[in-house]
């Protein structure tokens, strides 16, 4: 009982003295509290903002991909092979009446010969009968895929009889078909019974086609591409209603999905206008001569065409597109999604002021990223945008620390995240009695972690499309630090182990980086490929506010890509 009272007395003494004691902190402390409140107020936007932003970003990417996604296989193939060949997509046009090449009337899509005189002016071009001319309205940059460069099909149907009323010739699949630069195609309707006809091409040539004469199609394209009787190729041809401007330099006649009597009538008007043009007739003669010369050299090819024509005697009701993709690599999808993992390595610059220590087991800043990215593939060119989670990690160990016995200041360790202060108390705990210079054999294990959300946006250039596709890429990376943490585990030789956590590390939350890399993509199966991409990145800001060094990384991204 007496003992208990003594206990109580001791505790009562302290309780009475200290329970309601007041000690004023330093006046500057409120400023620190206020600064932290300010910091947290303007700190990170809530997680939901990031989620909504990411969702909008992904939705936007999908929408863009969907909008630009070519519905036509020939177009998609063109994207893939745009740098290789022109005539992968074929269009066969025929009709009950205007049928095969060897019959009374023919519609032929001729690709312009390389020898076409590119400098010929529009004014010199006659508008003649029996000619359907598909021409590009683009002037000098026909390879752009923008809508501004839509090509048009100019239709001049002199002999309206060859295109019966209500004959439906469907061009639906040609809409927005891209074409290669300078590839101008003629669609020529020929009636055996008519006078020799002339084909007019955009800025290119005047090509007469005589009745009963084998169709002079471009031999090269036909022979090499295995085209059918009709070859179609032009830059983003848009086929629309047949409206003819006979007097203006660009002969613009638009072919609709169906060539009806109105279009025929329009065409007849054009022809009549054209006939009044003397210069056209002069040009016709010149061209006829040239054509005759060419005819001989192209006989073999023409014969080959005729052979193929005979195999296609059957009437085709409507325009069809045919695609032969068997001879080249699997077709990459326009819209792709990829998931990837990317380890990165950065510098290591752990130092300390006023205290010596032997650092062991230090490793550089390591970072890894998990992400998903979406890409729009235009064959050689790709546009990537993604979202990724990254974690930066650094660790080091200290096994021996030496400092003055009278150390009053905390042990400051400068890390890439900021200054890490080990208070004197924990540092000295268990060290007694102390000599003039204290050497502690405690083990300090430091671990720092920063978590990021990234939005990489990159452009990619492929060098050929095949089983293996090498490429280079460059872009920007938007980075946001969502949290950071540093822990110092002190495993003391004497005394109690400590675990010190530092939460205010002054990491730069927002950062923009520029990245570049080169990689190779391996096509595993159709629409599925894997890639590996060594890269480098330089951030515009240091890792933290206390850090002045260049913030750069070297990494290697590996991923799986799926075509949608």
């Amino acid at each position: 009982m007496i003992e208990e009272n003594k206990h109580n007395n001791t505790e009562k003494l302290f309780h009475n003295a200290l329970a309601n004691m007041e000690v004023q902190p330093s006046p500057a402390l409120w400023d620190k509290v206020e600064a932290r409140l300010d910091d947290e107020n303007r700190k990170r936007p809530a997680l939901w903002i990031w989620l909504v932003g990411s969702l909008l970003f992904i939705t936007g990417a999908v929408a863009i991909g969907w909008y630009f996604y070519p519905r036509n296989q020939a177009l998609r193939e063109y994207f893939v092979n745009s740098g290789v060949a022109l005539a992968q997509g074929n269009v066969a046009i025929s009709n009950n009446t205007v049928n095969t090449l060897s019959d009374s009337a023919k519609i032929s899509l001729q690709q312009q010969d390389d020898s076409i005189n590119n400098t010929a002016t529009e004014q010199a071009k006659p508008i003649t009968s029996q000619t359907i001319v598909q021409k590009s309205s683009a002037t000098s940059t026909p390879n752009k895929s923008s809508a501004n460069n839509n090509a048009h099909i100019t239709t001049v149907t002199h002999n309206a009889l060859v295109v019966p009323k209500n004959t439906s010739t469907t061009y639906t699949s040609l809409k927005n078909t891209p074409v290669k630069k300078d590839s101008v195609t003629h669609i020529t309707a020929i009636n055996k019974t008519q006078t020799p006809v002339t084909t007019v091409a955009n800025n290119k040539t005047i090509k007469p086609v005589a009745a009963n004469e084998p169709v002079i199609a471009k031999p090269k394209s036909i022979a090499t591409k295995n085209n059918t009787d009709t070859i179609y190729k032009d830059k983003q041809a848009t086929l629309s209603n047949t409206t003819v401007k006979s007097t203006s330099p660009p002969v613009k006649a638009l072919v609709t999905k169906s060539i009806n009597t109105d279009s025929i009538a329009n065409a007849q008007k054009v022809v009549s206008l054209a006939k009044k043009n003397d210069s056209i007739q002069v040009a016709n003669k010149v061209i006829a001569n040239n054509a005759q010369k060419k005819a001989d050299s192209l006989k073999a090819d023409s014969a080959q065409i005729a052979k193929k024509d005979s195999a296609k005697k059957d009437t085709v009701k409507k325009v069809t597109t045919s695609t032969d993709t068997s001879h080249h690599a699997a077709l990459p999808s326009l819209f792709n999604i990829a998931i990837y993992y990317s380890p990165e390595i950065a510098r290591n610059d752990v130092t300390s002021h006023s205290t010596t220590f032997n650092m062991q087991n230090a490793v550089p800043n390591l970072r890894y990223s998990f992400g998903a990215k979406f890409s729009l593939s235009f064959g050689k060119f790709e546009l990537n945008a993604g979202i990724a989670y990254s974690q930066l990690h650094q660790t080091f160990g200290l096994d021996t620390i030496s400092f003055s016995k009278n150390i009053l200041q905390p042990l400051i360790i400068n890390t890439s995240l900021g200054n890490l202060a080990v208070p004197v108390g924990p540092l000295m705990a268990g060290v007694s009695p102390a000599p003039w210079v204290v050497t502690i054999h405690d083990h300090y294990q430091y671990n720092e972690t920063v978590n990021y959300i990234n939005m990489p946006i990159n452009a990619r250039l492929n060098f050929g499309i095949g089983k293996f596709t090498p490429y280079v890429t460059a872009g920007i990376n938007l980075q946001y630090a969502i949290s950071e943490n540093a822990v110092l585990d002190v495993i003391k030789d004497k005394g109690v182990d400590l675990n010190l956590t530092y939460s205010s590390l002054n990491v730069n939350a927002f950062n923009i980086g520029f990245s570049a890399g080169a990689g190779i993509e391996y096509n595993i199966v159709k629409r599925l490929s894997a890639y590996v991409e060594p890269n480098a990145r330089l951030n515009t800001l240091p890792l933290s506010g206390n850090d002045k060094s260049l913030n750069y990384y070297f990494g290697c991204q590996g991923g799986i890509k799926l075509g949608l």
Binding site: I2, E3, K6, H7, N9, T10, E11, K12, L13, F14, H15, N16, A17, L18, A19, N20, M21, E22, V23, Q24, P25, S26, L29, W30, K32, V33, E34, R36, L37, E40, N41, P423, G425, P426, V496, D497, L498, N499, L500, T501
Partner: protein
Amino acid sequence: MTVTEAEIIEGCKAGKRELQKALYTRFSGKMFAVCLRYSKNREEAEDLLQDGFIKVFHSIEKFMGSGSFEGWIRRIMVNTALELIRKKKLDFSSFDIEHVESYSDHITDMTTTIAENELLAMIQELPAGYKTIFNLYAIEGYQHNEIAEMLGISEGTSKSQLARARHILQEKLKRIEINYRPQVK
């Protein structure tokens, strides 16, 4: 004009800075004393006080008005201190209570003669585990079972650590008492 406690609470809930400062001004003295008891020195205590007030401002929306506001803030301060202790992985290894030396019996005679700050310094000088348990038991008024739960230790450990702390403090008090004895000329 004096701001009432209710106004301070409402203002802090609305995030008004001037009322946050009013809260700080009103309670920082008492809470700093609490922090000092759980710390080794002023710097450590100021860090604790900072963290504690940040938590107060963050969680003031949860304060429903039932009970003492000061008591609520004090609990946050104490919990902040305990959180740090848990992070430091303090070793509360059991100390055999039977090995505690007998106490000096002249403690009660000198209670009024020792300044508060000296008592505070005695507590601060205690090893972290002893200090924590003594604070929780003797000053905050928690029972051993509560302390055991709060710190994740056994009740026996809490008791033994308290006994050891008490013993150390009594020894210190005894030394101080000797110093306080008038010099015999």
